[in-house]
């Protein structure tokens, strides 16, 4: 059985780049109905930063996120995550890599409603072969860290939206991944809950060396980003060095 601390794939010597995307294209459908979602995307994410990907609906944000996460095959280009080339791996290797190195926070939480909160959090550990007892202990610790101590036996349906997203954060971090992928993490939450969730995410990941990539529409959370990549029409058009820069361009 595996120790949760040793799940992540050993990294090559750090060069500061966590995600390296070059000339990535992705087209959905064929013939006249074909839609090119990514039109040669180039961008990098650094180790330990929180990078937000923003842009109008249909610009390819979610497709880019899926490609980086290895959940969607792309047509052309190169994607390296921690210097592992996703395009060179077979599907099974990508799945294993994803399970060990990536944590997910979804827009609609995607908690299994029939499982308890603790069981939901244990899932990434169980996928990686961690013993149930250790997984339970680690999940309880993470739940305490996100402010849900003692709620492990509850069903997700008994929690508020903000609490459910905190469970999702615990689940994304429980196996100590190097990369956390967040898809619109605040879109299902009100303003206050959205702020609390982002504060929590930032406080847990800051200084941990984890890279966090957040796709969002929510300009109120830009302030949590280290850098912001702005997408338009299937390409990353600009990368803003600071949240203030993009706040200015948005307003």
């Amino acid at each position: 059985m595996t120790d949760p601390a040793s799940i992540s794939t050993p990294l090559p010597p750090a060069n500061g780049v966590a995600i390296h995307v070059r000339s990535v294209t992705k087209t959905f459908g064929k013939g006249e109905s074909a839609v090119q979602a990514l039109k040669g995307v180039n961008f990098d994410a650094r180790e330990g930063e929180m990078l937000m990907v923003v842009g109008p609906s249909g610009c390819g944000k979610t497709t880019l996120l899926s490609v980086i996460a290895g959940t969607l095959e792309f047509d052309r280009g190169e994607v390296e995550v921690f210097r592992h080339s996703l395009h060179a791996m077979i599907k099974r290797e990508v799945t294993v890599f994803r399970g060990r190195n990536i944590g997910f926070i979804f827009q609609s939480f995607n908690l299994v409603p029939t499982l308890s909160v603790r069981e939901n959090v244990t899932i990434p550990l169980l996928i990686n072969g961690v013993k149930q007892r250790i997984a339970d202990e680690r999940s309880e610790a993470l739940l305490a860290e996100v402010g849900l101590k003692g709620r492990g036996d509850d069903r997700p349906g008994n929690l508020s939206g903000g609490q459910q997203q905190r469970v999702a954060i615990a689940r994304a971090l429980v196996h100590e991944p190097r990369l956390v992928i967040c898809d619109e993490p605040t879109s299902a939450l009100d303003k206050d809950n959205g702020q609390h969730v982002m504060e929590l995410l930032a406080s847990i990941t800051k200084g941990s060396g984890r890279t966090v990539v957040v796709v969002t529409h929510d300009s109120r959370i830009f302030k949590f980003a280290d850098r912001i990549a702005e997408m338009e029409d299937g390409r990353v058009q600009r990368v803003h060095a600071s949240p203030a820069e993009i706040q200015e361009s948005y307003y």
């Binding site: 959940t71 799945t95 609609s108 069981e119 169980l126 996928i127 990686n128």
Partner: protein, 379 residues
């Protein structure tokens, strides 16, 4: 992950109950109906079981044990003279009307045993002695006859009581156990000579000749010698039983009717379990997608789906089989309808349920294999 799979299944109460109910019903219908059918097949061989003999000699036109085409009494001598036959005795069997105390009639199966040897006698005597059949007008009745012939009497009929068969008085000298027969009528045993007195007169009265092979010969070898030498039909007990069952398959709609019911149980199982399980997978597809995104391999997810399918399958099978046993025990205690549960029936039902589970899980597996984990990013 398998624990998670089971929790996902059990927590969805409505689907879980629907799945288990469907599979329980399928297992019950398949096993119980097959059990009743096996019981009927057993009843068709009632005469063979009650009047045990290694070789049965009958008219060559007879195809099964429940039909009688009488032979001449001299045929017993012909069989005895066949080399390879150790002994041969006559037997009468016929359905006659017994008159009850209240004047009504009930059919009984009258069996006339060879008076000297009592070959074909009941296996278990509950009361009295079989040898007392040699007394005038005496009969031994089975336990079913006590129920059937006691109508109109202040107390159940028993040893020492009399009743009429074909207007002739019969005195009960013993009670025996017997296996039920296809006709469902009670057995009344007497000697061959007295049976001819009870039965309406016909030109030929000999129903069966029971024979035994000489030392060194198998019943099949001796039966062949009898057939060759006399031109009569001669079967071993097993051959006659098989011929009887085959006759029922060929000449009655009973097997087809039962098979349709059993097939219906199977189809209902496939439809209910397949449809419900598929809908369970569809409802959880998003969660399976999330698991896939989080790194669960196709193999793990397939294992989870199969575990879920086979878990409900085994629970449904267990409940179905348990109910079958309860119903079967009740049937047996009532004496009818017939019921028999050889080990092959639960085994065949198990195979059918496993097939249903495989079918249901394949539907789910197909869906999950096609599932793109990126589905979880689509709002």
């Amino acid at each position: 992950m398998y624990r998670i799979a089971l929790k996902m299944l059990f927590a969805d109460r409505a689907k879980y109950i629907m799945l288990v109910s469907g599979l329980t019903f399928a297992a019950l219908l398949m096993t119980q109906q097959a059990g009743v059918f096996m019981g009927i097949l057993g009843w068709t061989k009632g005469n063979l079981k009650n009047m045990r003999a290694p070789i049965w000699v009958v008219d060559p036109k007879v195809e099964q044990v429940n039909e009688v085409k009488p032979m001449r009494d001299t045929d017993v001598g012909r069989v005895r003279s066949v080399p390879g036959v150790a002994w041969a005795v006559p037997m009468y069997w016929g359905i006659l009307q017994a008159r009850l105390a209240d004047g009504k009639f009930k059919p009984v199966q009258l069996v006339g045993l060879d008076g000297a040897t009592m070959v074909g006698r009941p296996a278990v005597m509950v009361k009295g002695r079989i040898e007392d059949l040699r007394l005038p007008n005496s009969v031994v009745i089975d336990e079913l006859a006590i129920k059937r012939l006691s109508v109109g009497r202040p107390r159940p009929i028993g040893v020492g009581d009399t009743f009429e068969i074909n207007d002739k008085e019969a005195r009960i000298v013993g009670i025996c156990e017997s296996e039920m027969s296809f006709f469902g009528y009670p057995y009344v045993f007497t000697t061959y000579d007295q049976a001819l007195g009870f039965a309406p007169k016909q030109r030929k009265m000999l129903s069966y000749i029971l024979a035994h092979p000489a030392d060194g010969l198998t019943p099949a070898q001796a039966a062949k010698l009898i057939r060759d030498a006399t031109g009569l039909g001669a079967y071993t007990e097993a051959e006659f039983g098989k011929a009887t069952i085959m006759w029922f398959f060929k000449n009655t709609g009973i097997p087809l009717s039962f098979m349709m019911t059993i097939l219906l149980g199977f189809i209902v199982g496939v439809a209910v379990a397949g449809q419900t399980f598929y809908s369970f997978i569809l409802e959880n597809l998003r969660h399976f997608g999330a698991l896939k995104a989080m790194g669960a391999s196709d193999r793990t997810l397939m294992g989870m789906v199969m575990l879920q399918a086979f878990a409900v399958g085994m629970i449904g099978y267990g409940l179905g089989l348990g109910l079958t046993c309860l119903i079967g025990a009740k049937f047996l205690s009532m004496g009818m309808p017939p019921f028999d549960l050889p080990w092959q029936l639960p085994a065949i039902t198990l195979v059918a349920i496993l097939f249903i589970c495989s079918f249901a899980s394949l539907l789910g597996i197909r869906k999950i294999r096609q599932l793109e984990p990126a589905i979880v990013f689509r709002g």
